[in-house]
Symmetry: C2
């Protein structure tokens, strides 16, 4: 079987089930005097791995961006690429309501490139690290025919309470809860589309969308506030709302209903892409907003305490999978040509 | 300036000096209740980064292998590639005398490959993880036109004593100490050469060299024993003896003299490559042996306690750089055509 038939998520699920069969290494290693108790609390399948040694809990995540697949130097300047490579990892820590600690940055690059670009890239990484109190601890630089940036990031829970109440989990959604999302959806996809079409960032009403695409802002504060307020289920929207919400559904053994008209979408994006915006918002990806589920009053409490807009977009229901309905309550479903095409029919 | 003019190590040094200018994030973050004291003790420039949060010390390292640059599927089977991707990181933990904790594994791969190969690759990773009590905590799978495997690995010091006495450092070599290396040098390079020339692994006196190339063994036990015995300076030989010893010299502000005839080289390698073996041993790379410096009696103590051969190959001297001498005490120097060519003159 080819990887392309299985898909990235199919492949990850396959490996996850294989790795789950693997016996854990002994909790007390051959070196009990320094090791203490070691335990992998949460492996593959959430935004971060959760690991315990002694009384200390670590969060860890890694994300990689490959040229031509996850970024293009045509649409993402070096400085922004560096920022984004770290920010998308910070977003995973935010999705666990964690506090970032230190990052390792690996850069794969062809030899025949100019050093100035690399300097800019690292300035972007450092700028992002500085903004979120993260230490750049090391990394690697390797020769590669294609550019890639791979970041590993550790962190720790923000709440001094036992697991699982110290983190937001994909598996904690319960029927009856509402589904809420921070900020706006679809802006990154809209910004990318504009850049691909040759639009100039500064001279456009979509400047904010382009900024969202290039320099996503990890929702660290809101993640922590949400946990404090009593939210237990969260993840970040990196692969598109419906795809990511499906992961919450699968992990929680629940279904979800999303109301398309309630999605928070920048008016400038709606105006510039009247047919395509629902597709951007439902499955555009790279939003890096926080998706959470909780009782309605808990979401209200988060909204009161957060500077960021927090919009209820649907609810958790018994069953499985994600259902999207339009303004007349009709079910919208994904077709082979994507949400864009479908969305065009709705208007 | 092009990256190719600066070289990998030049580029790393450039970034290291830039990052060193960066003010550290505040030790007490906005979240003092859970953070405790946070400190990057040792950043770029050794085998691992060393990090403290509260009373807990972490080691962290990352290494990436890119197809066509660091490996070829022609000469490295999937299973061995998985093993090696983790083992080279474990070697960095060994070089700090640490104990490995957990790994994140990122795989970049083209869509049109068979899933069987990937299954084998992860079997290799799991096999290595099991062998060295390491947890596979997560990772990422991304689409990429070129194969790569990137591993991040955390660990912790084996000795419950304060830094810097809980780790082996590149910067701790002192004039008057002897230089010692575990196992044998040049085998990996010899094994690779044979594979590139189409030699068959099983039918050859170099089967052991090929095994060394494909499945390096991290020297975790010896690293810990060395620290216990009083060794303070160590690193692993990944880029070749002379190159790596040069890094110890630069970090320690000292010079090194290496005696070519004393290098531990497999007799089968000497026989198969009578002209090339000195080059393999001095700069072949991928040995993943431990290089250490210490007073002679401390090295003797390590040798008594370790199952692994430990060979004195030279000594630390005042000055700078690495000098290699032949059996008549004449200085051997690297030429544009490498050590191989030069070595041929010596015989």
């Amino acid at each position: 079987m080819r990887v392309s038939e299985l898909g990235e998520f199919g492949l990850i699920a396959r490996l996850q089930s294989r790795i789950a069969q693997e016996p854990a290494p002994p909790a007390s290693s051959p070196f009990p005097s320094t090791d203490g108790h070691r335990e992998l609390i949460l492996g593959i399948g959430d935004d971060c791995a959760v690991w315990r040694r002694g009384s200390d809990i670590h969060l860890a995540t890694t994300d990689t961006m490959v040229q031509g697949v996850h970024f293009s130097l045509e649409t993402t300047p070096w400085l922004d690429l560096g920022w984004k490579a770290l920010a998308v990892n910070l977003s995973d820590i935010a999705a666990m309501a964690g506090i970032p600690d230190y990052a390792l940055v690996t850069l794969g690059l062809p030899g025949e490139v100019d050093v100035d670009g690399i300097d800019s890239l690292y300035e972007g990484v450092l700028d992002c690290a500085r903004s979120y109190h993260t230490f750049l601890a090391g990394g690697d630089i390797v020769s590669s025919p294609v550019w890639f940036v791979s970041v590993s990031l550790t962190g720790h829970p923000s709440a001094p309470v036992p697991y699982p109440n110290n983190v937001l989990l994909r598996s904690a959604a319960r029927a009856g809860e509402v589904i809420a999302v921070t900020g706006q959806l679809g802006s990154s996809a809209a910004g990318l589309r504009l850049l691909q079409e040759g639009g100039h960032p500064e001279q456009h009403s979509l400047a904010r969308a382009i900024q969202t695409h290039r320099r996503p802002v990890p929702r660290l504060d809101t993640g922590r506030l949400a946990l404090e307020a009593g939210v237990r289920c969260g993840m970040d929207v990196s692969d598109g709302l419906v795809g990511d919400l499906s992961k919450i559904c699968a992990a929680s053994g629940a279904g979800a209903e999303v109301h398309l008209p309630d999605l928070p979408v920048d008016p400038a994006v709606r105006e510039a892409f009247p047919g395509a915006w629902p597709g951007f918002a439902l499955s555009g990806g790279e939003d890096y907003e926080l998706l959470m589920t909780a009782p309605a009053e808990v979401i209200d409490a988060v909204r009161e305490r957060s500077d960021l807009p927090l919009t209820v977009i649907g609810r958790v229901v018994p069953g499985e999978g994600v259902t999207v309905t339009d303004e007349r309550g009709r079910q919208v479903s994904l077709t082979a040509t994507g949400w864009d095409h479908l969305a065009a029919h709705l208007h």
